[in-house]
């Protein structure tokens, strides 16, 4: 990543803020980078599942970024990917146990997808591209920003799919009894439709902004 000379001189506080905020919008892992599509498409059939997978991914990403950032000098370059995967896998398993202890129901609903956080390229990507070459504070902020951005993206799919496909939001009835659920929305094709619509909206806003400048 080429850093213009001007930005090096900016204060640390604005750099911290930027590292956090860039994950929400400018470098959003889902809407801009299109990373971690497996959980985004598969687990967002209801808002609560989307929130849970987002929170679990954020938790794993913050913890693994912390360790990767602290241990960046200790891990030889040649074995860094294997080390990162080992670190991420450890925290995913920890998360799985903790989630199972916290809520049996949520764990049942998320099923196999908790374990699949290990291969979420977003987390490995942040470890490799950011945490391994930045200090602890910036790495945690970056992971938090990316995690919140990921959660918001999952939620924007999850709410739309649940409302249209099931007529509910977080389990509460939104429409009257006459509402005929649009079942395809909570099936896999619905995930692609809704993601496509969000990407369309996202890019339209971005292009308008660029054109205005």
């Amino acid at each position: 990543m080429a850093t213009p000379a001007a930005s090096i001189q900016t204060k640390t506080s604005s750099e911290s803020a930027d590292n956090f905020i860039k994950g929400l919008w400018r470098e959003n892992p889902v809407f801009v980078a299109l990373l971690g599509m497996c959980p985004v498409l598969a687990v967002t059939n209801s808002a609560i599942n989307a929130l849970a997978i987002g929170a679990a991914s954020t938790f794993v990403m913050v913890l693994s970024s912390t360790i990767v950032s602290l241990a960046q000098k200790l891990i030889p370059k040649q074995v860094r990917i294997a080390s990162y995967i080992l670190i991420i896998a450890t925290f995913v398993t920890v998360t799985e146990y903790v989630l199972q202890a916290l809520s049996y129901e949520v764990h049942k609903a998320l099923g196999a997808f908790i374990a699949l956080i290990v291969v979420n390229c977003m987390i490995l990507g942040r470890a490799e591209a950011f945490a391994s070459r930045n200090n602890l504070r910036q790495s945690v902020l970056d992971a938090l920003g990316m995690g919140v951005g990921f959660t918001v993206a999952c939620l924007s799919l999850g709410t739309v799919r649940e409302v249209l496909g099931n007529g509910t939001l977080f389990g509460f009835q939104v429409f009257g009894p006459e509402f005929e659920p649009w079942i395809v929305m909570i099936l896999p094709p619905g995930a692609f439709f809704v993601l496509g619509m969000w990407l369309l909206l996202f890019n339209w806003v971005k292009h308008r902004k660029e054109a205005a400048e």
Binding site: L74, P76, K77, Q78, L86, Y97, A101, L187
Partner: protein
């Protein structure tokens, strides 16, 4: 960039910058170190969360049992042995378990039985409640399913389908060796007899799978339960005796 780096980069422009040489021993040490720390962390988390996880699972099962047997307030777990039933020891983990549920006065109000079978996507696991007095299934709950959301998962959410199991006849034949009428499938809206399971439009395979697994389970289990009905009825009092002994 140092001078030597610049020379290396200009000498072979296509090859990316090589990381500094590290001995294999150092790499192995790093991987082993991370592995050991990870292992310790995992064992620690496992030990810390295991009691809560077990408690959650037991509570979920207990809730399900009290859901499928109306009027239940306590339960005892039985396991079959050579066609007879006996109380399960807490340390045992037998494959076949029947949960006898008792009311406030200690009388037997029903038996909860686990059953599973192949659904559309994966194994469907259910718990059903059996009332020995009317010899019928009085409650039904899906424990685990990976059926298609919106279609196959209607076996959980469709009230009309769940109503099949409010009074599903599974009475024994006159000689007590098999069911008087096997549990059979009926097309949606075509249910006539109390031993028929009415299917769901759009979820035929899953609802048929549930009918089949209930039938298979009932054919085996009902005979055992009815033959040992006295053991089940006495279960609550005799266990109290053993406690006092």
């Amino acid at each position: 960039m140092t001078a030597s780096d610049t020379i290396a980069a200009t000498a072979s422009p296509d090859i990316p910058e090589q990381p500094p040489e590290v001995s294999s021993a150092r790499m192995i040490m790093t991987m082993a170190g991370i592995g050991i720390i990870s292992g310790i962390l995992l064992v620690f988390t496992y030990m810390a969360t295991l009691p809560t996880i077990e408690k959650n699972k037991a509570e979920a099962l207990e809730r399900a049992i009290f859901d499928v047997v109306p009027g239940a307030s306590s339960k005892l777990t039985f396991t079959p042995e050579d066609g007879r039933l006996r109380l399960m020891e807490p340390s045992e983990k037998p494959a076949e378990r029947y949960y006898a549920a008792y009311g406030n006065d200690g009388e037997l109000v029903g038996v909860a039985v686990e059953a599973s079978g192949q659904g559309f996507a994966d194994i469907v696991k259910v718990l059903y409640g059996y009332d020995p007095d009317c010899q019928c299934i009085v409650g039904f709950k899906v424990l685990a399913t990976k059926e298609t959301p919106g279609l196959g998962d209607k076996i959980e959410t469709d009230p009309a389908f769940v109503a099949n199991f409010e009074a599903l006849d599974v009475s024994l034949s006159a000689d007590g060796t098999t069911l008087a009428n096997e549990v059979v499938f009926a097309k949606p809206g075509k249910k006539i007899n109390p031993w028929e399971v009415e299917g769901i439009t759009g979820a035929t395979i899953t609802s048929k799978a549930v009918q089949k697994l209930i039938n298979t389970s009932a054919m085996n289990v009902m005979v055992i339960l009815q033959n040992n009905i006295q053991v089940l009825r006495d279960g609550n009092t005799s266990s109290q005796h053993t406690d006092q002994d």
